[in-house]
Symmetry: C2
Subunit: 138 residues, 2 copies
């Protein structure tokens, strides 16, 4: 039940917020822009204003429910947090997004931050390339 999750995160369980969280949890697409969420919800009859989508996704981000990514498209992409951290590998042809986790890279990052005297709060690693399907079709 989403309203409990929201309250646990310190947010009032308003109808738009419940709908958006519910939508994110039930969506098969994991990475979506605010506009994507807006349109998809419109289709399914859950009419939430675009400004609210932006506000809510930003709030979800600040309480850790979602992660915001800045890939190369000129707009933010949001992803529901499912616990395990991971990085991304994006196909520059079709936009397909795969996920991966690499302990070695994670460790090196922490070491590099420490070596530079930074207190690491976050990191973003994105590999760009051509996915298997797009390579074949060429």
């Amino acid at each position: 039940m989403q309203s409990q999750d929201l309250k646990k995160a310190g947010l009032k369980a308003t109808l738009p917020r419940v709908k958006i969280l519910n939508f994110l949890e039930s969506s098969k697409v994991r990475h979506m822009s605010a506009e994507d969420v807006y349109k998809a919800m419109l289709e399914s009859g859950d009419d939430v204003g675009l400004a609210t989508i932006y506000r809510v996704l930003t709030q979800f981000e600040s309480v850790g429910l979602v992660t915001r990514h800045h890939f190369e498209e000129g707009h933010s992409v949001f992803e529901l947090n499912l616990g395990e951290h991971h990085d991304h590998i994006v196909c520059i042809k079709c936009g397909r997004i795969d996920e991966f986790y690499d302990a070695t890279i994670e460790k090196r990052q922490r070491e590099i931050a420490a070596k530079n005297g930074f207190e690491m709060t976050d990191h973003a690693l994105c590999i760009y390339g051509v996915c298997p399907d797009c390579r074949d079709q060429k």
Copy 2:
């Protein structure tokens, strides 16, 4: 002489392009938005239209003269390519940007791309944190 560099890169050596390249090479700040470049050049008397700045930086990117970054600010940041690839560590308090290169991470990335069947074309790694100066001031 910048006009030679431009021609070598396959671009006509127009006045705005020479001025912009010259500005990037002489700037002490290495990471700038299109707006930053526009304003700084205005100050120094080199008046180039903002649309041209955008066009030229995009061209410079496609011929490899500059790299475009998508940090967390909601706009692109450009950096003159000086040969050696590197990644970034950004202070979320003051915006300071340090650079680093880690062979282990580079190697792992190539391996991960290969393992997923991707032909890697590029990658972006950015560590976010609080820099030494900002930690002290807190």
